[in-house]
């Protein structure tokens, strides 16, 4: 655990030592602002909640999270520092978990900086802050799920562009799996798959949190989803580290 946190702290420090952190946070906040207030018609709805904010959140993460994860392993490989990191007395699992935690903590910081939305809605009305809190928990879990996917993709390639594009693509599959576009197609052609698609959909699970329901099954889903992709990352890193 100590080693995991050491790796995480070093990695997180790396984000803030470069413009990556500032650019990411500014773009994230700007996108969320524009989408919530303009497209989401936050004011016109005349309701004291953050529904538009949370509806757009997974899609913004879908675009931005792979931008964080694309460098997670691909950059280590390009710089050769992967050889240094993996010959320190750490297990592969500690290195993988440490890097993931750093990226997740970074997303948590970005998410925390959306606090003006919460203040705004509280000034204008009296929203159910419990629902807002559970929405934030859900948002953080979606970010974690996408980060875990992105970390596996990043471990598989040295090229950051490939890591980004593949990361978006794979995350999109899990985000869109429950949308009518996909489920209708599947129910027509392969009804068994439609049920599965709904089950593994990150967006579907997230909806519960947005409605204010923190379900144990959804928590278990996110934990296993993240665990599975991190395990896969460990296997890929171990297999491809020296390529």
């Amino acid at each position: 655990m100590r080693n995991t946190l050491l790796v995480a702290r070093r990695e997180l420090g790396g984000y803030f030592a470069t413009p990556v952190a500032v650019v990411f946070i500014v773009i994230f906040l700007a996108l969320q602002g524009v989408l919530t207030f303009n497209l989401g018609a936050f004011f016109e709805r005349n309701q004291a909640d953050l529904q538009p904010f949370f509806n757009f959140l997974p899609w913004v993460f879908l675009l931005l999270v792979p931008a964080i994860t694309m460098r997670l392993w691909a950059e280590e490989r390009r710089l050769g520092t992967i050889e240094l990191l993996l010959t320190l007395p750490l297990t592969r699992g500690q290195a993988v978990a440490g890097k993931f935690l750093a990226a997740w903590a970074f997303c948590a910081i970005a998410l925390a900086l959306t606090f003006p939305f919460v203040i705004t809605v509280n000034v204008l009305g009296s929203p159910d802050n419990g629902v807002i809190a559970s929405g934030y928990v859900g948002g953080l879990l979606v970010a974690g799920a996408f980060l875990a996917v992105g970390s596996a993709v990043s471990a598989a390639t040295k090229n950051q562009v490939i890591a980004f594009v593949l990361g978006v693509a794979v995350c999109f599959v899990f985000a869109a799996a429950s949308y009518p576009l996909v489920t209708d197609f599947l129910s027509r052609n392969a009804p068994e798959l439609a049920t599965i698609a709904r089950r593994i959909s990150v967006a579907e699970r997230y909806q519960g949190f947005v409605r204010g329901v923190v379900g144990l099954r959804d928590l278990i889903f996110f934990a296993s989803f993240i665990g599975f992709w991190l395990f896969l990352t460990t296997v890929i890193v171990d297999h491809r580290k020296a390529d």
Partner: protein, 275 residues
């Protein structure tokens, strides 16, 4: 440059065997990339007090062998042990006893020298005042004190190399594997690093790869020459030099590693092994 006596055995070294057991044991180590054999059944051992110079033309398999020895690259076949710990099956224990400078001395560019060494010290299991003491000592060993607050990306090639060296020496490991430790250093710095290595030699098993043959004569007690992935010579630098009539190591190296001579050398190796 000072000797590292004061910090001897403070590091968690994971039960290094005492006595005559070799600290580094490589047996039948091979690495194939597809149909290309980069390293072909390399075997040797290095005991405490030995400084092994690992020589060979570019692409001969030096770095590949060192990567397998450090546990970074998985061998196709064969085993490597550091202080009795298999680098594949008992990897973390093996890496605890190892100080490793990878090829090109990679470091995190955005970190300061001090921040980087603190990170390595913490991962090496030190805490509190011990971290400060270790980092301080490593800064002195590699003469990095003047640049300790600079980001590594702003340093010259020679300084970067020394940051890599400081990182490898920080925990005073019983085994050192240094891939081209003097590459990119100026003559004064080269001399300092050689003095440093000679000063530590008695208590460690050290493997260095280099293209500078005078370095081998200056610091190494043994020279292993590798060509096309095979060990073609393993003897003292003086004995190696005598292989050529001129008595010069450079001529001997050229004679052994030139492709057209290699067939003859394999016969030479067999007689040498019998002796």
């Amino acid at each position: 440059m000072t000797s590292s006596d004061s910090l001897q055995d403070g590091a968690p070294q994971g039960g290094a065997p005492q006595g005559d057991a070799p600290l580094i044991e490589i047996a039948g180590l091979s690495k194939r990339f597809g149909s290309f054999t980069a390293v072909d059944k390399v075997s040797f051992t290095v005991a405490r007090g030995e400084v092994l110079g690992f020589l060979g033309p570019n692409g001969a398999g030096k770095s590949t062998t060192m990567r397998m020895l450090s546990g970074f690259m998985t061998p196709t076949s064969g085993t490597a042990r550091i202080c009795g710990h298999d680098v594949q099956t008992d990897a973390v224990a093996a890496r605890r006893s190892l100080g490793y400078l990878p090829e090109g001395a990679p470091c995190y560019p955005e970190m300061t020298v001090l921040g980087f060494l603190h990170f390595v010290a913490a991962v090496r299991g030190f805490s509190g005042a011990e971290v400060e003491r270790r980092v301080d000592h490593a800064l002195d060993l590699a003469t990095l004190r003047g640049v300790r607050l600079q980001p590594i990306e702003t340093l010259s090639k020679g300084f970067k190399r020394r940051v890599g060296l400081a990182q490898a020496l920080l925990h005073n490991p019983p085994v050192l594997i240094l891939d081209e430790p003097t590459d990119g250093l100026d003559p004064n710095q080269k001399h300092e690093v050689r003095t440093l290595i000679s000063g530590m030699a008695a208590e460690k098993a050290i493997v260095i790869s280099t293209h500078i043959l005078e370095e081998v004569e200056a610091v190494c007690t043994r020279a292993v020459v590798i060509a096309s992935g095979r060990v073609v010579a393993d003897e003292t630098p003086a004995a190696l030099a005598k292989r050529h009539p001129s008595g010069r190591l450079e001529e001997a190296f050229r004679q052994i590693t030139r492709p057209e001579n290699r067939g003859a050398e394999n016969i030479g190796l067999e007689t040498m092994g019998a002796a």
